[in-house]
């Protein structure tokens, strides 16, 4: 068997390989289920029911898909430039914190809904971008590995989130009422700051689609995107071409972080309506890490991220709903990991041609 580089990548393979990865991953996950003594087929039927068919299932799938679209876009934006921002988790927390504070303050001061929502969006972006700029600036100015720094900051962000609600009487914490004296929780945002939904579509899902379109345009149709691509493919070529590396790293990190922060704002405005610091709540959803799976499966294409986020969101929703004896939690993570492995292995087929047996006898003889 030999592996040769393809000169041209056929278009159909770009769709077929991720789809094939998904099928292959379902097959391997089925083996995992069988090996641990479960009935794979009935598990899969349960997943489909819980994700799409049961009443209200699609709505819950959208609830999971919306944050995944944001974190997936955040990862795709940075990974396109080979800037491995794996801090979407922490950036989402930070966006939630800033958007929540904005909603509490402006909503409490009687601002109209549209303005409050707009301010929450801006605040969420700013919070996420600021958190992402820490590893971004360290990478740009000191060449510090952004993978480890952005990941370490996820843990710090989680501690900040927990601290604000559990360990201090902060602006975010509910201090009045009976429940608050039994178990620490955060204040609910005023109703004027609730994000509206259209049928089953939360406002956040619309914003995510909009963000995907903007990112797609930015990366495929503008000079900014072209320069980012060059910088990712060949930093040396980028330097010779006079592309300002530092500025680009900072801009892309800020962009990536702000999209993740937007996901945090959407969590507060669309779904929880408070700052969810419960150790078994938002922090156990791992939206930031799952976003990496979404982005990789979408091959870092922002438009594909939306579609993949819906599929992975369905899986995540099924996992949350079914959690129990015959559907152990962690199974969804296993399936996501296998999907990602298959997509990575499949990449080989997109980039290379695998020939079996002796080939090109003419050149070999010569």
């Amino acid at each position: 068997m030999r592996i040769e580089r393809r000169l041209r990548q056929p278009r159909w393979l770009v769709v077929a390989v991720p789809a094939g990865s998904l099928v292959f991953a379902l097959f391997v996950s089925g083996l995992v289920l069988l090996a641990t003594g479960h009935n794979a087929l009935s598990s899969y039927r349960q997943i489909v029911d819980a994700a799409f068919l049961n009443s209200g299932a699609i709505g819950q799938t959208l609830t999971q898909a919306t944050p995944l679209a944001f974190t997936g876009l955040a990862a795709a934006a940075a990974f396109r430039m080979r800037l491995f921002n794996i801090g979407a988790e922490g950036q989402l927390f930070m966006g939630a914190i800033t958007a929540d504070a904005t909603a509490l303050y402006l909503g409490g001061h009687g601002w109209p809904t549209a303005l409050v929502i707009f301010a929450m969006v801006v605040a969420g972006c700013a919070g996420g971008a600021a958190w992402a700029l820490i590893p971004g600036a360290l990478r740009a100015f000191f060449k510090t590995n952004e993978i480890i720094t952005s990941l370490m900051l996820n843990y710090v962000a989680a501690y900040v989130l927990t601290y604000l609600v559990f360990n201090t009487e902060s602006y975010w914490r509910q201090t009045k009422g009976f429940n608050a004296s039994v178990f620490p929780t955060s204040k609910e945002i005023p109703a004027v700051a609730f994000w509206p939904s259209w049928h089953i579509f939360p406002l956040g899902s619309g914003i995510a689609v909009l963000a995907a379109l903007v990112l797609w345009f930015l990366f495929t149709r503008t000079r900014f995107g072209f320069e980012a691509q060059v910088l990712g493919d060949s930093p040396r070529a980028a330097r010779y071409a006079g592309i300002r590396t530092r500025r680009k790293i900072l801009a892309v990190m800020a962009l990536s972080g702000s999209v993740a922060g937007l996901g945090g704002a959407s969590q507060v405005g669309d779904f929880s309506h408070l700052l969810d610091a419960d150790p078994n709540g938002l922090q156990k959803q791992y939206y930031g890490y799952t976003g990496i799976v979404v982005a990789a499966l979408a091959r870092y294409n922002p438009l594909a991220v939306v579609v993949v986020a819906f599929l992975i969101g369905a899986l995540q929703n099924a996992g949350n709903t079914l959690q129990g004896a015959d559907f152990p939690s962690g199974l969804v993570g296993v399936m996501q990991g296998i999907i990602l492995f298959s997509a990575l292995g499949g990449e080989l087929l997109v980039r290379n041609r695998v020939r079996i047996g002796r080939t090109m006898p003419a050149t070999e003889a010569a």
């Binding site: 510090t144 993978i147 843990y155 501690y159 890490y289 993570g333 296993v334 492995f341 990449e347």
Partner: protein
């Protein structure tokens, strides 16, 4: 005197630092052969859960079941590393993305958590755990008592591993070959060294070390299974390899430093010490310090001079050399 904060921090720093040390030694072996494995956290967690499972289900004498548990943990870590090795060495996938995939697959929301739930491992303390080796009278010696003689077998074994890995890399022919494969795989290949075999072997060895690191958590530090018990230790181990300039001896120093930082928060809580937002800064300290030390190391000079293997992270394709 042995109850002073400093001595207790150093003693528990050695205990908490041991998984970091095992993880870092394993990652160091893989990286010296040119394979970056960002899946340490995931491999650790699978090692942790499988080691714990062995102790709970194997009905044997304490020493035997603990030895078996460490063996199973090493094998589990190795199995995880094999997936990464196949993807990046044989299929030439991106080492960064594959490592991340391994952490997602095996990590806190993945296989380790699945196994923990499916095998019903939570909520029970370990049936056997590693305890201090030396008698209590020796442990009461001032300062060195708790720090040096108050530790378990895994700690002392890790010291042997540091010496072993250091000698292996610097004093043996195999170790020289590993370094050649990591620095210049094309030259190594021309010399007749099997690049693929060396990379597979050392990635797998890295997985075995990570598995043992995980078992250190569930069998020695907190003898129980909690999903995500490692709490980012795998990532700190990866950072440690960079701080240590890819040298085993420095890994030991770094591991105990970060171990002491991790021990700080529980100690402050136990002593009821409050300094400002204590819960926030004491818990965040190991992670923030990792970032700061990494910045310091990366800002202080060229990467090559600090000892990073020249072909780290790059696949080796014979046809394209």
């Amino acid at each position: 005197m042995n109850n002073s904060l400093l001595v207790v921090l150093l003693a528990s720093g050695v205990a908490y630092g041991t998984p970091l040390l095992y993880g870092a030694l394993g990652e160091l072996l893989a990286e010296r052969s040119g394979v970056l494995n960002l899946g340490v956290e995931g491999m650790m967690l699978v090692g942790a859960v499988m080691g714990f499972w062995t102790v709970q289900r194997l009905h044997a004498a304490t020493a035997l079941s603990l030895a078996a548990a460490v063996g199973v943990a090493a094998l589990a870590g190795m199995a995880m590393a094999a997936v990464h090795a196949f993807l990046v060495i044989t299929l030439r996938a991106s080492q960064i993305v594959s490592g991340l995939a391994l952490t997602i697959f095996a990590g806190a929301a993945g296989l380790s958590s699945y196994l923990g739930n499916d095998l019903n491992l939570a909520d029970n303390p370990a049936r056997h755990s590693f305890n201090a080796v030396f008698p209590a009278s020796v442990q009461r010696w001032p300062v060195v008592g708790p720090i040096v003689f108050g530790q378990n077998v895994l700690v002392y074994a890790s010291w042997a591993c540091v010496v072993g890995v250091a000698l292996y890399l610097s004093r043996t022919r195999l170790g020289l070959n590993v370094r050649a494969v990591g620095e210049a795989p094309a030259s190594a290949d021309a010399m007749g060294i099997n690049v693929t075999a060396y990379r597979y072997a050392h990635t797998l060895a890295g997985g075995a070390f990570a598995g043992v690191a995980g078992a250190t958590f569930t069998l020695a530090i907190t003898p129980q299974w909690v999903s995500g018990i490692t709490g980012g230790a795998g990532w700190i181990a990866i950072a440690l390899v960079i701080f240590a300039f890819w040298r085993p001896g420095l890994c030991l120093v770094g591991a105990y430093f970060f171990g002491a930082l991790q021990a700080l928060s529980p100690q402050l809580q136990a002593r009821n010490i409050h300094l400002g937002p204590t819960e926030l800064w004491a818990n965040s300290l190991p992670y923030v310090m990792t970032v700061l030390v990494l910045v310091f190391v990366s800002a202080s000079g060229a990467r090559r001079r600090l000892g990073a293997p020249a072909s780290l992270g790059l696949p080796y394709v014979r046809e394209e050399r």
